[in-house]
């Protein structure tokens, strides 16, 4: 039988506010446990929440970014359940009246462009963390994260394979970072994906029973977890079994998934409107003012990179995908006046180095301005492209502040002195008489290729600092 996979996503996006959604505690990542948990976050008796305006601005910005209806009347509700990382014993969230109504995102895969509908997005508070390392058989609770604002984005089950799901996830990541409402640091949990997966015989309309794989925090794990779960469901069904609705956890290290401890009675969350918070009402003028703050979105940016900088669509797509890359590229391009060269470097050398060292562009030791300095010197022929990489490595190692400083210190200026170059070439011709003979005897269409040998030797002899155009001209003349 041929099977069709149906995937829907629920994505938790931590908003980049300075303070929490209902208290004045800091949301900064990485602080000592419980040092950013105030009386409200700890659910001390008698404390009360006050909603953060910035969380609403960011949620509205997101809504506008997915072409959604903004609900001008939204209501916080209490979702009741007990868990040690949930101090109040309920999560303050939105249910019947969320801030963001239906919208959509367009994704692009090998199969072409497709629209993925978003059912809604709501504001809520994050929970704390349970630390499971052993405290004499106990768990430790850190409530620093409790109360960090989240938007939960709920997609329709519009995706049909892992590729589409990952494309949607990446598109969402690009959008929230471009809007600067989330730092996009997935390894720190800034974006967490819950994937609802079911399979059904192709052509059948009724959806199969779904499972939810929770808390995936990388595109790679998401891809792996989906492939694994689809495979599992198909093999269960093909061997005559049934899928049970359950929550699953995927372990990216072992590449295995397991069912979470079964909750024998499905939770009854007893939602009701939070009496401590009043309905939030946003008027047209407010929404219009937020719309005015809307930064350029990735799609528009990609078009601009093609038209203004003449970049190929593929490159423009990569550079515009997230705001950190776009900002880095644009800064380097402006500093050097060389957008195309900057594009090649960001996509090539910079990204290769980052991958090698497993660090993100945000933490790149070479700033965009420093890169611009390198590119400027390559463009004005002060250094060769090859020396450019040497300068880049030196800046990476922190050997200097600017490209010019490194160029001077390492003596990387191109050798443009005709006399010196002629001397090098004369030596090479004298030392390689056999190759000179065969070059001169070769037909014209082979000569261009054979010239490479002499160029290489001469570059090597000049320690890579010869001006390539000048070198070529002298070589051609001498080999005549």
């Amino acid at each position: 039988m041929e099977w069709e996979t149906v995937i829907g996503l629920e994505v938790h996006v931590q908003l980049a506010t300075k303070s929490k959604i209902f208290s004045g505690s800091s949301t900064a990542f990485g602080a000592e446990p419980n040092t950013q948990a105030c009386a409200i976050d700890l659910a001390m008796p008698g404390t009360l929440p006050v909603a953060n305006a910035e969380a609403f601005r960011m949620a509205v910005l997101f809504g506008l970014g997915i072409n959604a209806k903004i609900n001008q009347h939204s209501v916080f509700e209490r979702k009741n359940y007990f868990y040690p990382d949930l101090p109040k014993g309920y999560q303050t969230t939105q249910l019947a009246e969320p801030i963001v109504g239906p919208g959509f995102l367009e994704i692009e895969t090998a199969q072409g462009v497709k629209q993925v509908r978003i059912h809604h997005a709501h504001l809520e508070e994050d929970a704390g963390k349970s630390l499971h390392e052993d405290f004499h058989g106990m768990s430790g609770i850190d409530l620093n994260r409790a109360g960090t604002p989240l938007i939960e984005v709920v997609s329709e089950p519009d995706m049909r394979n892992a590729e589409e799901a990952v494309a949607f996830a990446k598109k969402l990541h690009a959008l929230v970072t471009a809007l600067e409402i989330c730092d996009g640091e997935m390894s720190q949990g800034s974006m967490r994906f819950d994937v609802n997966i079911s399979v059904r015989p192709k052509g059948q309309e009724k959806l199969g029973t779904r499972t939810e794989t929770k808390n995936l925090n990388s595109f790679k794990f998401m891809d792996e977890a989906i492939e694994l779960e689809v495979e599992r469901q198909i093999s269960v069904l093909e061997s005559g079994g049934v899928i049970t609705q359950e929550t699953r956890l995927y372990n990216g290290d072992t590449k295995k998934a397991r069912s979470m401890r079964s909750k024998e009675d499905s939770n009854d969350y007893r939602y009701f409107p939070c009496p401590d918070l009043l309905p939030v009402v946003l008027d047209d003028a407010y929404i219009e003012a937020v719309r005015q703050q809307m930064p350029e979105l990735p799609a528009a940016k990609a078009v601009r990179y093609q038209t203004s900088f003449g970049l190929p669509a593929y490159d423009a797509g990569i550079l515009s995908a997230d705001s950190t890359t776009a900002r880095y590229f644009e800064t380097a391009a402006a500093a050097s006046g060389q957008p195309k060269l900057a594009a090649n470097w960001v996509i090539g050398e910079v990204s290769a180095q980052l991958n090698r060292h497993e660090i993100s562009l945000q933490n790149c030791p070479v700033s965009a301005d420093q890169l611009g300095g390198i590119l400027q010197r390559i463009a004005d022929n002060t250094i060769t492209a090859k020396s450019g990489k040497t300068v880049f490595d030196a800046l990476w190692q922190g050997e200097g502040q600017t490209a010019d400083e490194i160029i001077a210190a390492k003596g990387l200026q191109v050798v443009s002195d005709t006399g010196a170059l002629e001397k090098i070439i004369d030596d090479i011709i004298a030392a390689n008489s056999a190759q000179v003979e065969s070059y001169r005897a070769a037909p014209d269409d082979k000569k261009a290729k054979m010239l490479g040998f002499f160029t290489g030797q001469a570059m090597k002899a000049s320690k890579g600092q010869a001006n390539p155009q000048q070198l070529n001209a002298i070589l051609l003349a001498k080999l005549q």
Binding site: A43, P45, G46, V50, R78, G89, Y90, D276
Partner: protein
């Protein structure tokens, strides 16, 4: 000294006829001597009170001290007090010492008011007789075999017994007005949103409101200016102009339209209470007011709507008491579920557990629409009754509670009988209106209260109406025989 009005006390403090230390020590002595008989205090903060009194005396000596500077008062143990145990009448919080104070506690501290201690109350404010307190029941100073009312029974009893000139209190369904009525004192629950709820331990957030208990309306007016402040820390606190509540006290009542709801004088009302309330209404006519018979047709829905909404909100509000971050934690929990279930089962009393269960029930899947949603709609109908009534009248008067103080244990094991104790007071909480109770007579030697219900933010008018009555009557000056 303990029989003086607050106006007289603050005049003596300001003129240095008496020092705050003398006054504070006088009330501390009375508490030490008499309160073992009433159990109205859970915690007496003698040492801290004397230190505050000395600080107040220093401010008074410098001149320009606030009006209330040096005046002693008590706070209901529902209000968080930094460094002082705040139990809310529960074993759950028997060891809870908050590192912060309620806004209203701070307001009084800033004004130089001296805190004598924390008053006893029904556990988490759930009760109408003060029998649910972990610290034992409070006894009514007028008849110690009778209840003082609840949940602010400790605040009511300590004012009635002249152990404090005044006390803060809170009212979710009648918890200020009913004990004020049963103890023969004056009590005001302001409009919902008028007083900050920050630091007041929540029972039912959309109904809870802090207020005051003192012997007279004038005393309350003097204290209300300091109780009231706009507080950005409470999202439901309303930024509404704050008048000087003393300003309107002396206005004559000529032409005042008093609404008398027919539903408040039906079956279940004690004949003696009805007679006392009728006499009070006649007194108002003699002051130039006009009585208008009105109907609040959805009154009978108040008790059922309240007993859906209040438990629903409390079931969530009390989830934070889980033995993890503060408060009671059971011994040797076997696992996480055991920690939760035993800490809560051992830390909460029966009535609290019952209300949590009811609240969980009415919110659970399949029952939400039938109970919770229906109760919220009934709430709207009840509120609209009042909105219509206030188009015809300026104020509504009636009984505060169906009968005078009853004996301990007399409401038996049926919670419904106890719930009906609040039949006349609950509607104002559902509507968010201000309510007040003032003494209007004695039946069999026990006090009876007259209830005043005002329009939104009409506290000044209510205090005026109450004060004019107290100028011509002396019920508010009567003291229980045992203490005079």
């Amino acid at each position: 000294m303990h029989n003086l009005s607050i106006a007289q006390l603050i005049n003596q403090l300001q003129t240095k006829a008496v020092s705050s230390r003398e006054l504070t020590q006088h009330f501390l002595n009375r508490i030490a001597q008499l309160d073992p008989g009433y159990n109205s205090f859970v915690t007496v903060t003698a040492e801290q009170a004397l230190a505050q009194a000395d600080a107040a005396d220093a401010r008074l000596a410098q001149g320009n001290a606030p009006d209330l500077c040096g005046l002693p008062m008590a706070h209901k143990d529902i209000f968080c007090t930094q460094g002082v145990r705040t139990s809310c009448g529960s074993k759950m919080l028997d060891n809870f010492i908050p590192p912060y104070s309620a806004t209203i506690v701070e307001n009084y501290a800033a004004a130089g008011v001296v805190m004598l201690g924390k008053t006893n109350m029904d556990e988490f404010a759930m009760g109408s007789s003060n029998e649910t307190s972990y610290y034992g029941p409070v006894k009514n100073p007028w008849a110690t075999h009778c209840v003082p009312g609840g949940s602010s029974g400790g605040s009511a009893a300590c004012v009635a017994a002249r152990l404090a000139p005044a006390a803060t209190a809170s009212d979710t369904g009648g918890s200020i007005r009913q004990p004020a009525s049963l103890c023969g004192i004056s009590g005001l629950k302001p409009t919902y949103g008028r007083i900050s709820r920050w630091g007041m331990i929540a029972f039912a957030s959309s109904l809870d409101q802090a207020g005051l208990m003192a012997r007279s309306a004038e005393d309350i007016a003097l204290l209300l200016n300091t109780l009231t402040s706009f507080d950005a820390k409470d999202s439901t606190c309303v930024d509404h102009p704050i008048p000087d509540y003393r300003a309107d006290l002396t206005k004559p009542l000529n032409g005042l339209r008093i609404g008398v709801p027919v539903e408040y004088f039906g079956e279940g009302l004690h004949a003696g209470t009805a007679a006392a309330v009728d006499a009070a209404l006649k007194h108002y006519e003699s002051l130039g007011a006009r009585l208008v018979s009105i109907s609040l047709p959805h009154s009978s829905l108040s008790v059922p709507a309240y007993y859906v909404i209040a438990p629903a909100e409390c079931s969530a509000n009390l989830s934070r008491f889980d033995g993890v971050r503060y408060g009671y934690r059971c011994k040797d929990p076997q696992d996480l579920e055991d920690l939760y279930r035993r800490s809560r089962a051992e830390g909460f009393g029966d009535e609290v557990k019952r209300r949590i269960l009811i609240g969980s029930y009415v919110l659970s899947a399949g029952f939400y629409d039938a109970y919770y949603s229906q109760a919220q709609k009934a709430r709207r109908l009840i509120q609209q009754d009042f909105v219509s009534a206030f188009q015809q009248v300026d104020i509504i008067l009636g009984p505060t509670s169906p009968s005078p103080a009853f004996e301990f244990g007399s409401k038996g094991q049926d919670p419904v009988a106890m719930y009906l104790e609040d039949i006349y007071t609950i509607a104002t909480n559902l509507a968010g209106l201000p309510g007040m109770s003032i003494p209007c007579g004695l039946v069999d030697g026990k006090p009876v209260g007259l209830q005043l219900i005002g329009n939104y933010f009409a506290e000044s008018l209510m205090l005026n109406v109450a004060h004019q009555y107290q100028l011509g009557t002396d019920f508010h000056t009567l003291a229980p025989a045992a203490i005079s």
